[in-house]
């Protein structure tokens, strides 16, 4: 949905520009749209195919790694530990062949937010040793050691948690995770909820675009911000989406039930990924490492 909203904004921008009525503007506009989609403020979160050792790990191993890492982030209090975890996280990105530039690009929003956390700490926390004082005419800026320490600790935590989740999503195919969970014992009816939802995301995105085009063709435009425009928007966008989703679901139900979905309590799975010794090794090492770090720091 976030992507959808971004696209709508793009459209609105392009419409405003195209009113300028010149060929040049449309060319600039098309360029600006490209840059808009290439570096969005909110990064699009999706699986990136690859064949690295990180990609090849069992989805559940990756899930365990994510959990161990997140627990470590919260149990390790000291900022040095946070730095160490960040270093490990970056190694993970490296191993998945994503590199530092990918990390910075995708997590730009998170990095900015972490910087804000540090600034807030510096402004409000006045404890420990005075590190720096910048005298200004009305308000002199003072930087205290505890503020810096807190800021770095909290900022790192935020980066670590978000970065790890990002890495997990980027290297794990959602459907293979769903299949793995079902094989682990999650009831397959719930697992298939996720799978069919994922299957229909591109379909619904396409339908959303079609509805937008139908709006344009009928000259429907939403001007001004008011409750009336909002209710109209809901009526004109979401009702058609829901109607078409319901009709799709009716067909899907016929198709799935007709193929014995739900006939037995269990089902077999063709798509199985076995745990390798490498997976076991990774899980054990990660748990041991996190305990070690916790004891040391």
């Amino acid at each position: 949905m976030i992507v959808g909203v971004c696209k709508v904004n793009g459209k609105i921008n392009s419409k405003i520009n195209s009113n300028i009525n010149s060929d040049v503007s449309s060319r600039i506009n098309s360029k600006s749209r490209i840059s808009f989609s290439k570096y969005p403020i909110l990064p699009d979160l999706k699986y990136v195919a690859g064949a690295t050792c990180m990609h090849k790990l069992h989805p559940l191993t990756k899930l365990v790694l994510l959990i161990v890492f997140s627990v470590s982030v919260f149990t390790i209090e000291h900022w040095a530990g946070g730095l160490l975890l960040l270093f490990m996280l970056l190694c993970g990105y490296k191993a998945a062949q994503l590199g530092l530039s990918y990390f910075v690009r995708k997590l730009r929003f998170i990095l900015i937010f972490s910087a804000l956390i540090i600034i807030v700490q510096v402004i409000f926390v006045k404890e420990g040793v005075l590190l720096l004082e910048i005298p200004l005419p009305f308000l002199s800026i003072t930087v205290w050691s505890v503020a810096i320490e807190n800021g770095i600790r909290l900022g790192l935590r935020f980066i670590n948690i978000m970065g790890a989740s990002f890495l997990f999503v980027t290297i794990t195919q959602p459907q293979s995770l769903a299949y793995s969970l079902m094989q682990l014992g999650v009831p397959y009816r719930y697992g298939f909820m996720l799978i069919t939802a994922l299957r229909f995301i591109p379909v619904f995105r396409q339908e959303f675009n079609q509805i937008k085009n139908a709006h344009l063709a009928k000259g429907i435009s939403f001007t001004g911000i008011s409750i009336k425009t909002f209710t109209r928007m809901v009526q004109y966008i979401f009702i058609p989406m829901i109607v078409s989703a319901l009709s799709k679901i009716a067909s899907l139900a016929v198709s799935m039930e007709g193929r014995a979905f739900g006939k037995y309590k269990n089902r077999t799975f063709m798509q199985r990924q076995a745990f390798t010794t490498k997976d076991v090794f990774v899980v054990v090492t990660s748990i041991l490492t996190s305990i070690c770090i916790w004891i040391m720091i």
Partner: protein, 523 residues
């Protein structure tokens, strides 16, 4: 050959021992809740194992309801009242659960997209056998047999989102075949496909018929293509079976009942031809001039170097495979896609740099799926929706009422449009654009999945519209209709305008160059 026959016989024997794929329907009556007229009336039907039966009739005649009833999806008390018996493989299914019927009856629906629930072709075909808790070995053998029967072995590891419509429909059929049902039902399997995709599906069905003993039931509006396959034709009208017998006499009766060309449409065509002749003789300037248009989307060329001119009053068909650029062409005329280079001139006015809202005043565009284009709470409000956005003058109520009457929607003025039938929705969408009378009308596949009556009605409306000096472009997949009624064809292939001319001439060129389904001798 002998060996083959032997195998088929032995296969048949096994089937006969277990379940034989026969259907007996005895005095079946069904009425939907909230409806006065029964959807099915006194249906008696016996279908033997291995038969290929085509069930046809107008929209709303009850054929889809019958298909769903045979497949076990309609029960007494769920959606309506059901009386009578449906006996499949000597078992009354009135009280069976759907899942218990899986493996006996398989149904493939119209929309391929909505029937696939996984990501790759292999997973999709495996889905059914997995639900039956089969072993890996059995599942694999079922996958290969099913894929082989519909000819998609080479696609097994492909991503479903990247398949064409015809391929998706074949995957849906393969997925059903993997359940090894004795009865396979297909509800308008080709309605949403282009001619190539439709042909793919029909060839597939032919292969299934020849190599297996499945009982096959096809529900269709346009039965011409299925005639060589059909052992039997069942004609339905208003919930009743009016003919049940061999295919040739059945087809004659079908032509008589549903396909008779209305005198009125012939007259309209004559009037239109006359009008166009005068108009062309007067040597007027072109209404629409498209010159060297190029369109890129995400750095990919969608349309390259498109040029054509259209005179006022012409009814033009835009043809080509799905994804060849027809819809992109329409969207770029309206300015939703921005042209990279080239110019579009409508009625002497250069449209480059004109915003979509402005263009929409002169250009009306409708899309294939009416559900994406209906926004208002009542039919009347929906009718005046584009008018109120695009025209400054107040709505002419008389004109709207008259239009509703012409569309035979005047009885539904206060009905929520979502409650209309598919055909009625399509008429409503058409009425909406006609209400504000744009100079150029773009219709994206208005005839897909529609019966003859609706197509005739649509053509009548379009002739009248064109005779007022307007231009109409219709994206269309039906060579027969285009051949008979349209003035001109633009044939697109892979983003290029391949041919432009009279239907007969274009179809001849297409047939010469190996495009199947356009042979005018077969129409």
């Amino acid at each position: 050959m002998g060996n083959n026959t032997y195998m088929r016989n032995s296969h048949a024997n096994i089937n006969a021992n277990m379940n034989n794929g026969s259907i007996n329907i005895v005095d079946l009556n069904f009425t939907y809740y909230g409806s006065d007229a029964p959807a099915l009336k006194n249906i008696n039907l016996d279908i033997k194992q291995g038969e290929f039966v085509v069930i046809t009739g107008m929209s709303g005649c009850g054929k889809s309801t019958l298909a769903m009833a045979i497949a076990g999806y309609i029960k007494n008390g769920t959606q309506g009242e059901l009386q009578g018996k449906i006996i499949i493989n000597e078992r009354n299914i009135n009280h069976c659960h759907i899942e218990q019927l899986a493996g006996e009856v398989g149904i493939v629906l119209q929309e391929p997209e909505a029937q696939l629930c996984t990501f790759t072709v292999r997973e999709e075909i495996a889905f059914g056998p997995e639900n039956l808790c089969l072993s890996d070995k059995d599942i694999n053998s079922r996958i290969y047999t099913a894929a082989n029967r519909v000819g998609i072995e080479r696609l097994l590891d492909n991503d479903i989102n990247q398949l064409s419509g015809g391929e998706k429909q074949r995957v849906a059929i393969a997925a059903m075949l993997a359940m090894e049902p004795t009865i396979l039902i297909l509800d308008e399997p080709t309605a949403n496909l282009d001619p190539d995709g439709a042909l793919d599906v029909i060839t597939t069905l032919q292969k299934i018929k020849q190599t297996t003993q499945h009982t096959i039931i096809v529900i269709e509006h346009r039965i011409e293509q299925f005639l060589p396959l059909a052992d039997r034709i069942v004609l339905m009208e208003q919930g009743q079976i009016v003919y049940d017998g061999s295919s040739l006499p059945g087809y004659t009766y079908y032509q008589y009942l549903f396909n008779k060309t209305d005198k009125k449409i012939r007259e309209c065509l004559q009037v239109h031809k006359q009008y166009l002749k005068q108009r062309l003789a007067a040597n007027t300037t072109d209404m629409l001039q498209v010159t060297n248009v190029n369109i890129n989307i995400d750095q990919k060329r969608i349309l390259s170097d498109i040029s054509f001119n259209i005179k006022a009053g012409e009814l033009v068909a835009v043809m080509g495979k799905n994804g060849c650029g027809k819809t992109s062409m329409f969207l770029s005329l309206l300015g939703i896609y921005q042209t990279e280079t080239g110019s579009i001139i409508l009625d002497g006015k250069d449209l480059s740099g004109v915003a979509t809202e402005q263009r929409a005043k002169d250009i009306g565009l409708t899309f294939q799926n009416p559900n994406h284009q209906i926004f208002e709470k009542s039919v009347y409000q929906e009718m005046i929706l584009p008018y109120s956005f695009l025209r400054d003058e107040p709505v002419d109520e008389e004109l709207i009422n008259q239009l509703l009457k012409e569309l035979s929607l005047d009885g539904y003025k206060d009905t929520p449009p979502y409650n209309l039938s598919q055909g009625e929705k399509k008429r409503l969408i058409l009425g909406e654009v006609m209400a504000y009378n744009p100079k150029l009308l773009l219709l994206d596949e208005p005839m897909a999945g529609q019966d003859k009556q609706h197509v005739d009605f649509l053509l009548q409306m379009l002739f009248t519209y064109c005779n007022q000096g307007n231009v109409c472009l219709v994206a269309c997949h039906q060579p027969q209709v285009v051949f008979e009624y349209f003035d001109r064809v633009l044939f697109f292939d892979d983003g290029k305008l391949l041919y432009d001319g009279k239907p007969a001439a274009v179809f001849e060129l297409l047939t010469e160059n190996g495009y199947s389904g356009y042979d005018s001798r077969c129409m």
